[in-house]
């Protein structure tokens, strides 16, 4: 089943591109020129996104390196100690919305140190699979079109992330 989905997902992009260029040609579109005209927009979009990424990345990296991250993680750990949640899970829950590369590194580290079949690994695996790097998504999508007023989007995302972590921890328990 997994191999089947894996193969299918490898197939999708090549097939989609093939279909697009064939359909375009059929509709008398000069696909080469059309592709170039579209690709020309790429740099402009990235130029819009770059300052947003820079701004949030600087803050997140600084947050990790300053020791504030460890302090907050330990605080949460003691706060929720009655729930019997491994400290690795708390780390993951805080780092996942902030940084994709850091959460992947942390996950690999957890698998290595606590074992591939430990409870900590199972819970963090579910968090890894079911949560997204919220602040990256926000920076890229809002930066791309230069939105300044986000209304109540950020609090909604943070509440949703929190619910997502609780759901992930619960779902992993039944693993």
């Amino acid at each position: 089943m997994i191999q089947y989905v894996n193969y299918l997902s490898l197939l999708i992009i090549p097939l989609f591109i093939l279909f697009t260029i064939l359909y375009g040609t059929f509709k008398k579109v000069r696909v080469y020129d059309s592709f170039i005209a579209g690709a020309k927009e790429g740099p402009g979009v990235i130029l819009n996104i770059f300052p947003y990424l820079l701004t949030i990345f600087v803050a997140i990296k600084g947050f990790q390196a300053s020791g504030a991250f460890d302090f907050i993680r330990n605080g949460f750990y003691h706060l929720f100690s009655f729930l019997d949640i491994p400290i690795e899970v708390i780390s993951m829950a805080i780092i996942k919305p902030l940084s994709g590369s850091a959460s992947t590194a942390l996950f690999t580290d957890i698998v290595k140190t606590s074992g591939p079949d430990s409870m900590a690994t199972k819970i963090t695996a579910v968090i890894m699979g079911s949560a997204e790097t919220t602040f990256y998504v926000l920076a890229v999508y809002l930066g791309a079109i230069g939105i300044k007023k986000t209304r109540y989007l950020v609090p909604v995302c943070l509440i949703a992330d929190f619910i997502g972590i609780v759901v992930a921890v619960t779902a992993a328990r039944f693993l």
Binding site: I2, V5, N6, S9, I12, F16, T20, Y23, K27, V29, S34, F35, A37, A39, G42, V45, I46, F50, L54, F57, V58, A59, K61, G62, F63, A65, S66, G67, A68, T104, T108, V111, D117, T121, K122, V126, M128, G129, A131, E132, T134, V137, V140, Y141, L142, A144, I145, I147, Y152, L153, V154, V156, C157, A160, I163, V167, A168, A171, F174, L175
Partner: protein, 191 residues
């Protein structure tokens, strides 16, 4: 974002001073800048590719056909998208790419979707509710099979790496639905 950024930075600096992590902090700021450059360069490539492909979709009119096909599904959630608007196609393609774990396609198509949704936006500085729905769906990360996680588990010889598929799917669907419930209740309360 203003408050979060202010908090992250000022708390970090206070901690760096108190714990003596000043050097590490200063270094990390420039590391952050470096990874912003690296990720932007990476995005430059994949976004340009998908901008090229979606331009062919536009020029050939396929983007309107896809929109027409998926309108009944998409407009259930996105109620204020008129007719066979191109944003419907971009949203559909982004969701499909996410489902199959095609991150390199999902992000550029998501950017495209935001641009298309922005054409319906009257006040360019303020986010629309449609954009919020779209971002909330994306931050919930709906995917059928978490390949990268399974890959890491398998490389460390986990007994059954694929066992996480079902809990991940349940977690991701439940959190996506609850995220939407949170979003819609915010709108209701703040109206």
């Amino acid at each position: 974002m203003n408050v979060i950024w202010l908090l992250l930075l000022s708390v970090s600096i206070v901690f760096a001073v108190c714990t003596g992590n000043l050097e590490a902090f200063t270094k990390s700021i420039f590391e952050g800048a470096k990874s912003a450059v690296e990720i932007s360069l990476f995005l430059l490539g994949i976004v340009s590719i998908w901008m090229g492909i979606t331009r062919i979709l536009e020029d050939s009119g396929l983007i309107y056909r896809i929109a027409h096909l998926f309108k009944p599904v998409i407009s259930r959630l996105f109620k204020n998208i008129p007719g066979d608007h191109p944003s419907i196609s971009a949203i559909t393609l982004n969701v499909l790419a996410n489902l199959f774990g095609l991150g390199n396609a999902a992000t550029p198509l998501g950017i495209k979707a935001m641009q298309e949704l922005d054409t319906l936006n009257e006040d360019k500085e303020t986010i629309t509710f449609e954009m919020m729905i779209f971002i909330v769906i994306n931050t919930a990360s709906i995917q059928l099979i978490p390949f990268s996680v399974i890959g890491i588990l398998a490389s460390y010889n986990a007994k059954n790496p694929a066992a996480i598929v079902l809990p991940v799917l349940i977690a991701t669907v439940v959190s996506a639905i609850s995220a939407l419930i949170v979003l819609f209740s915010f709108r209701k309360v703040l109206k």
